[in-house]
């Protein structure tokens, strides 16, 4: 049965590339490696691999960054159907042992997140240690929002099927280098990839309806006299 899903496993995408171009099985692992590089590049520059996951904060206030996390968007608690973002505190002192966190700035709160300009939840990013230190939600589940590399080792790595032309073009370019094609041929394939990359970026532009709503949102309607 044909796969008509909007997202497919990366492995299947590489299968299809090898299948379409009558390529030998023996180079599959090489193409898979290049495909992973391509997905990472597309995730950063062309498609929004936005992830919103529920993640547990340890009793000591530490979140381990997911392995596919490339950039940080926010950390928040969900309350009554909304997310309430934490405040970044660059001055939070992280102990060398990692574990002993400062006590909450306040011992009481009225609601999640900010209330009356009183911040109760703080975070500090430790990119080197790949950890997020939380002050205020120790032992709780929080929402972590981040930009993913699109390469998830914890489950079958899924990618949007719309990246197929761009990944195929990237792999053809890589194939040219592996096979020692002429410089002209390699440049031709590189240009094809750049064209596919450009087309893919167009997909992430806001729709006409979004733009219309944006303009209407800047106007004030009043009675026409």
């Amino acid at each position: 049965m044909a796969d008509t899903s909007a997202i497919i496993p990366l492995s299947k995408l590489v299968d299809r590339f090898v299948f379409k171009y009558k390529l030998p099985d023996q180079d599959y692992a090489l193409y898979f490696e290049h495909a992973a590089d391509c997905i990472r590049e597309l995730s950063i520059h062309a498609i929004s691999q936005y992830r919103d996951v529920e993640i547990a904060v340890s009793s000591l206030g530490v979140i381990s960054m997911p392995s596919d996390m490339l950039d940080f968007i926010g950390v928040a608690l969900s309350y009554k159907g909304n997310v309430w973002y934490f405040t970044e505190n660059q001055y939070m002192i992280i102990q060398a042992s990692d574990s002993v966190m400062p006590t909450d700035y306040d011992t009481y709160w009225y609601s999640y997140g900010t209330t009356g300009a009183k911040n109760l939840y703080y975070f500090k990013l430790d990119w080197e240690g790949r950890e997020i230190h939380i002050d205020g939600a120790e032992g709780e589940n929080v929402r972590l929002q981040y930009i993913s590399s699109g390469l998830d080792t914890a489950a079958t790595c899924q990618v949007p099927i719309i990246v197929t032309p761009a990944v195929d073009a990237y792999l053809r370019w890589a194939q040219g280098e592996i096979d020692g094609e002429s410089i002209n041929e390699q440049l031709k394939r590189k240009r094809t990839y750049e064209e596919q990359f450009r087309l893919l970026k167009l997909q992430s532009l806001p729709s006409l309806k979004d733009i219309r709503d944006y303009f209407l949102g800047m106007t004030t309607q009043s009675a026409l006299r």
């Binding site: 496993p9 990366l10 492995s11 299947k12 299968d15 009558k22 030998p24 099985d25 023996q26 599959y28 692992a29 090489l30 898979f32 490696e33 992973a36 590089d37 390469l151 080792t153 914890a154 489950a155 079958t156 790595c157």
Partner: protein, 213 residues
């Protein structure tokens, strides 16, 4: 044709001096094996995928080939059920390895060196993992060795065993096995076999104790 028919055809086209054991069946068999290997090699040079027409499947009749972890290295491996004809790509004579039944898990060949570094590559790390205990779209890799195949494979896949499509030498077929003669090379291969055997000088048939014939 069956293997026995091919050997019979060759023997019937040789000079009738067989009472001297000049064309012993084993010698004929080895000569055909050499000629067929050349024929398979020509097919490989044309398009390696066409070798699939000349493979035999092992582990596909309800009894998968077992995959076990080597107690010393920890590497999963299968002892080959038959010898194979080597070719100059990573598959060599093991043209295909698969799960016993058709699944989304696929096997691809790598070199021994690639095998050793796979664990540190995206191809290895994203090869697949457990989802609710079941493996889905797992990519496994294998290395063809002299008498065994080694695997980069999750334990769940290994425990189910594998089936293999192998290009085996002519002398490994049983007498009544049907053997596919390499495509469009019937005349050429038979002529090569007969020519190979004809060049063997005749033995001295006279019992006269002379140094020369």
């Amino acid at each position: 044709m069956t293997k026995a028919e091919i050997i019979s055809f060759v023997r019937n086209n040789l000079k009738k001096v067989d009472k001297t054991n000049k064309y012993h069946p084993v010698v004929v068999e080895k000569a055909i094996t050499m000629a067929f290997n050349q024929g398979y090699s020509d097919i490989f040079d044309k398009d390696p995928r066409e070798l699939d027409n000349y493979t035999r499947t092992y582990g596909g009749s309800g009894s998968p080939l077992t995959v076990t972890a080597n107690p010393n290295t920890g590497i999963y491996e299968t002892t080959l059920p038959v010898p194979y004809i080597p070719f100059s790509d990573k598959n060599s004579g093991i043209r295909n390895v698969a799960t016993p039944t058709v699944t989304t898990t696929k096997f691809y060949p790598v070199t021994k060196r690639e095998f050793e570094i796979l664990a540190g590559t995206m191809a290895g790390e994203l090869a697949g993992s457990s989802i609710g205990g079941a493996y889905d779209h797992v990519r496994c890799y294998y290395v063809v060795r002299l008498d065994k195949v080694e695997y980069f494979v999750p334990s769940t896949v290994a425990s189910n065993g594998v089936r293999m499509d192998i290009v085996i030498p002519f002398d490994q077929y049983s007498s009544d096995d049907v053997v596919n003669i390499p495509y469009a090379k019937d005349m050429q291969l038979m002529a090569a076999v007969i020519e190979l055997l004809r060049t063997v000088p005749p033995v001295d048939l006279k019992d006269n104790n002379a140094d020369t014939e």
